[in-house]
């Protein structure tokens, strides 16, 4: 397989490495960079477990994105949501409202939420549910995840919290 030197900017940090051109972003993150906070659930774009944020606003399934395509973009994973040990409001809402059980869907859900709220800071319940579609959770029945997204949007509204994502300097 042909390889190529690529630079990925993940959570504000540049990583330069050689990768086969067919390497998915998910593989690059997990296997090459050993950033295992992004999860594999299906590898075929069906579960949303691998969702990351591009340029602070666009959600992609990293399993369907080639690593080379992600060059030059700012990639945020759940590991980049915390700043100086301080949790992001989305993380706080997920923790406090019981939106996390096994937690395997959580990294993808949190990044999906970041994308939803970047696009629409005050979504209705229906918009939240539509927005989350494509991210599967088998533990919670979505009930508390929907509540957490709602709460996160309120928290981000009132507290002058930073913008989601866009982690690079």
């Amino acid at each position: 397989m042909k390889t190529k030197m690529i630079t990925l900017c993940v959570n504000g940090k540049d990583h330069r490495f050689e990768a086969p051109v067919n390497r998915t972003l998910l593989q690059a993150l997990r296997d090459d960079l050993k950033l295992t906070d992004t999860k594999y659930g299906c590898g075929t774009g069906e579960c949303g477990g691998c969702t990351v944020l591009m340029d602070g606003k666009d959600n992609v399934c990293s399993c369907l994105t080639l690593a080379v395509e992600a060059e030059g973009r700012h990639i945020t994973t759940v590991g980049g949501m915390t700043r100086e040990g301080e949790l992001h409001p989305i993380q706080i809402a997920f923790i406090e409202l019981g939106a996390i059980q096994c937690g395997y869907c959580t990294p993808g859900m949190i990044m999906k939420t970041a994308g939803i709220l970047a696009d629409n800071p005050n979504p209705t319940e229906e918009e939240i549910r539509k927005g989350l579609d494509g991210n599967i959770c088998r533990c919670t029945g979505y009930e508390k995840i929907v509540l957490a997204v709602r709460r996160a949007s309120e928290m981000m509204d009132t507290a002058q919290t930073r913008k989601v994502g866009g982690m690079s300097a």
Partner: protein, 779 residues
């Protein structure tokens, strides 16, 4: 008694922060130095075949391949990946007919996805390339996909020990006539005014835990086999691996990684045997195996599908004079849970109502599908679909309100329980029914939706259930727990209970903190399988109930020691001392007190004064211990109400609302209890509306992916109202009862009944898909 400060509160999960930041470590996240990658090569083209020839030579030549292993290169021992053998006495296991019939790698394929050989390589890609080069020559055999087909006299016999491919039936020695229950069913049935008879078809439903099965194994330099796995039964998998590989248990280091959902699919071994066999072949090098989603689907267990025949006889006043039932389950390719599920399916049935007489027969047959096994609810959703619908049919025919009928005829406290001979200790089902009915507006909606004719038709339905908290006395119930008091008065709680995400570690810590009267954040939970004693594992909705009982006992042991030492030091009678605000205080004289910290500290830092030989306290580090066998199974009950809207043009069913009232006894963590009911509802609605693993005629799976296997998404899920009914159980620790396994049960029957309320048609086949609805509407 200390005032309780954590029990009853919705404390966030202990590990939620790690999970929310991506720092929780699941097995596939492990990267160990020198790690190799294992690929299990599976038969994908046949569901039933003999391997005539296996040629591994080309695969072995691929650069970067370290080893290839065929069936002959690994232990020849057979095993049963289930764990029933560890839960019942040997004689009972024999009577139930459990057998070991699985091989690590096989030359006789019994289902698509059966493991043929293993490849160990320097990278995952290389292992995959090599897997493509494995040449297998098969002789295809006819595939049997249902119990009816495999039990045919001409069918090929899967296992000589199981003639007729009947893996299990209720043993004659225990249950004459191969059925259990009470009374003379035939005689009582003859007295019925009306008889309702139906055969229900249950689907093969997949757990769909989001983390696919993944492992790392390593045979280290000391000769210890290490296995990192997200099993939900660590203390069962450890001895099973020890037995399989002829090692003492002390040489199997089982490390439980964060569990990415279980729901029963990790009840026992899954691919630990294959992974460990590969690691044994490359001593000193860790081997990682991560299943793809498609592979996980083909290789791991599901809920038992099957046919459930039922006949209910009633008097005109509704009296259920007799119930006769038979569940013919397809157990799939291997034995695993062939006895457990068909057995307990009837327990929920006989445990529900006060029938005049009842007879239940449960059987399991081999088929050429992935094995059926444990799935949250363990037979209860199947019973719920059939029983609750046939009850409603009788109520409709007799013009009796289904809620009233259930209130009148359900079993309650003092009645014979799901395990015949063990009476129920408590039952809050009436309150569940009353509060649930009120919340959904039962009476009004029931009347309003009767006899609709439009395109969109609504209906409301009800369902009730019983379950258990732990499987005592049917199965072994045992949890050990140690609490070590540090010298500063903080504590380490060591146990091997699994937390699958339901939050059991959180609630166990809540219980410990309240029992010891100390803050939760000064207690650490250690879940290390070398350090921790036995726990049977997470199954039968037992962890809070049995684990909680163990934690309380161990804490009481600590308290006893604190008080004994304080008594010596203060010169006060033990009876006069109590633990309060982290001090041991005399009731009669509050000035006489010693802090817990001081007692613990002086026990560790115990110095002798050389001048007089006196010490500064009672020597010895305090450690509380419990090896706990619960006295009962304090069963929870529940009532569920569903409101649906059916589009008679498209056949689509939309669940508008679910009200789930659960008899929790006492909610240690209400938010976690709600989470169990809400998540369970997702699985229940899937089973009744959309989910089924389907196979083609050759037994090849047609929908082993999330696109083709339809689970409900966030948009499809209804509004869910949970009602936690708290009537403490008199026997249970803190009065608590279970909830986890109850989750996926009740919405099944309630939704099916709501659909038949809307349409006037009872659906005997699950899932009730739009096609089935349309077919029923336009026969």
């Amino acid at each position: 008694m200390n005032t309780q400060t954590y029990v009853g509160k919705s404390v966030p999960k202990l590990d939620a922060r790690e999970k929310a930041t991506g720092q929780a470590i699941y097995a596939a996240d492990l990267n160990l130095p020198g790690m190799l990658y294992g690929k299990i090569v599976r038969c994908l083209d046949f569901a039933h075949a003999k391997v005539l020839k296996l040629d591994l030579s080309e695969a072995a030549k691929v650069p970067g391949v370290v080893k290839v292993l065929g069936p002959k290169d690994v232990t020849q021992k057979r095993y049963n990946s289930g764990v029933l053998d560890l839960m019942v006495p040997e004689a009972l296991g024999e009577m139930l007919g459990d057998i070991e019939d699985q091989h690590i790698f096989t030359d006789y394929v019994r289902h698509q996805g059966d493991a043929i050989c293993g490849i160990i390589a320097e990278s995952e890609e290389i292992a995959e390339i090599a897997a493509q080069k494995v040449k297998v020559f098969y002789e295809a055999l006819p595939a049997y996909l249902t119990a009816e087909e495999s039990s045919h006299p001409d069918a090929i016999q899967f296992d000589a020990r199981k003639p007729g491919n009947r893996a299990f039936q209720l043993p004659e020695q225990m249950f004459p006539g191969n059925g259990y229950g009470w009374g003379d069913v035939d005689a009582e049935m003859a007295k019925a005014d009306m008889v309702f008879e139906e055969t229900f078809t249950l689907p093969k439903v997949k757990q769909c835990q989001m983390e696919t099965h993944s492992y790392v194994a390593l045979l280290d330099q000391s000769g210890r086999l290490n296995c990192w796995t997200s099993t939900q039964m660590p203390k069962c998998v450890q001895p099973k691996l020890a037995r399989l590989f002829d090692l003492p248990i002390s040489r199997v280091n089982l490390v439980q990684t964060t569990i990415g959902g279980g729901f029963g699919v990790r009840l026992g071994m899954v691919c630990e045997p294959e992974t460990c066999a590969m690691a044994m072949a490359v001593p000193g090098r860790p081997v990682k195996v991560q299943l793809t989603r498609e592979e996980d689907w083909l290789a791991s267990e599901s809920r038992h599908p099957g046919k459930y025949w039922m006949k209910l006889g009633v008097k005109m006043d509704g009296t259920p004079v007799a119930l006769d039932a038979r569940f013919m389950a397809s157990t799939g390719a291997y034995f695993t849970h062939a006895s457990g599920v068909p057995f307990t399916t009837g327990s929920w049935l006989t445990g529900m109502y006060k029938y005049g007489a009842v007879r239940y027969k449960g059987e399991a047959y081999f088929t050429n599908q992935a094995p059926s096994g444990a799935f949250r609810g363990y037979g209860n959703p199947q019973t719920n679909f059939a029983l609750e619908q046939i009850v409603d049919r009788a109520c409709n025919a007799l013009n009796i309100d289904p809620v009233e009928w259930r209130k009148k005829w359900h079993k309650g406290a003092g009645d014979d329980g799901w395990c015949i001979g063990v009476p129920y200790s408590s039952c809050a089902l009436d309150e569940c029914l009353d509060r649930g009915a009120k919340a959904i507006g039962w009476k009004e909606k029931r009347a309003k939706y009767a006899n609709q004719t439009g395109v969109m038709r609504r209906g409301v339905g009800v369902s009730v259930m019983n379950h258990t908290s732990g499987a005592m006395p049917m199965l072994l119930e045992h949890t050990t727990c140690t609490i070590k008091m540090n010298e500063d008065g903080s504590a380490v709680l060591t146990l091997s209970c699994s937390d699958l995400g339901q939050g059991s570690h959180t609630v166990l810590k809540q219980i410990a903190a309240d029992t010891l009267g100390m803050p939760m954040d000064e207690i650490h939970i250690l879940n290390n399988m070398d350090a921790a004693g036995f726990d049977i594992g997470s199954h039968a909705s037992r962890t809070t109930y049995v684990g909680g009982g163990a934690v309380i006992k161990a804490c009481e042991d600590v308290k006893r020691q604190l008080i004994e030492r304080a008594s010596i030091r203060l010169g006060v009678d033990k009876e006069d001392l109590e633990l309060k605000d982290r001090q041991v205080i005399a009731r009669s004289d509050a000035s006489k007190k010693l802090s817990v910290k001081e007692i613990c500290h002086s026990g560790v830092y115990n110095f002798t004064n050389p001048a007089n030989g006196e010490t500064n306290g009672v020597p010895g580090q305090i450690q509380g211990y419990a090896s706990h066998f619960p006295a009962h199974n304090s069963p929870p009950f529940g009532a569920c109400f569903a409101e649906v809207e059916v589009d008679t043009e498209t056949g689509e069913v939309k669940v508008l609302e679910l009200v789930i009232a659960h008899d929790i006894g006492r909610a240690i963590n209400p938010m976690a209890v709600q989470g169990q009911l809400e998540g369970g509802a997702h699985q229940a609605l899937g089973m009744v509306l959309t989910e089924e693993t389907r196979y083609n005629d050759m037994g090849l799976c047609r929908n082993n992916s999330f696109t083709d296997y339809k689970m409900l998404g966030p948009v499809d899920m209804p509004r869910i109202t949970t009602i936690l009914v708290e009537q403490p159980d008199p026997i249970a620790p803190m009065g608590l009862k279970s909830v986890g396994e109850a989750g996926p049960v009740n919405p099944v029957g309630a939704t099916a009944n709501a659909i038949s309320h809307a349409l006037g048609i009872m659906f005997t086949e699950a899932p009730i898909t739009p096609e089935r609805v349309l077919k029923a509407l336009n026969p």
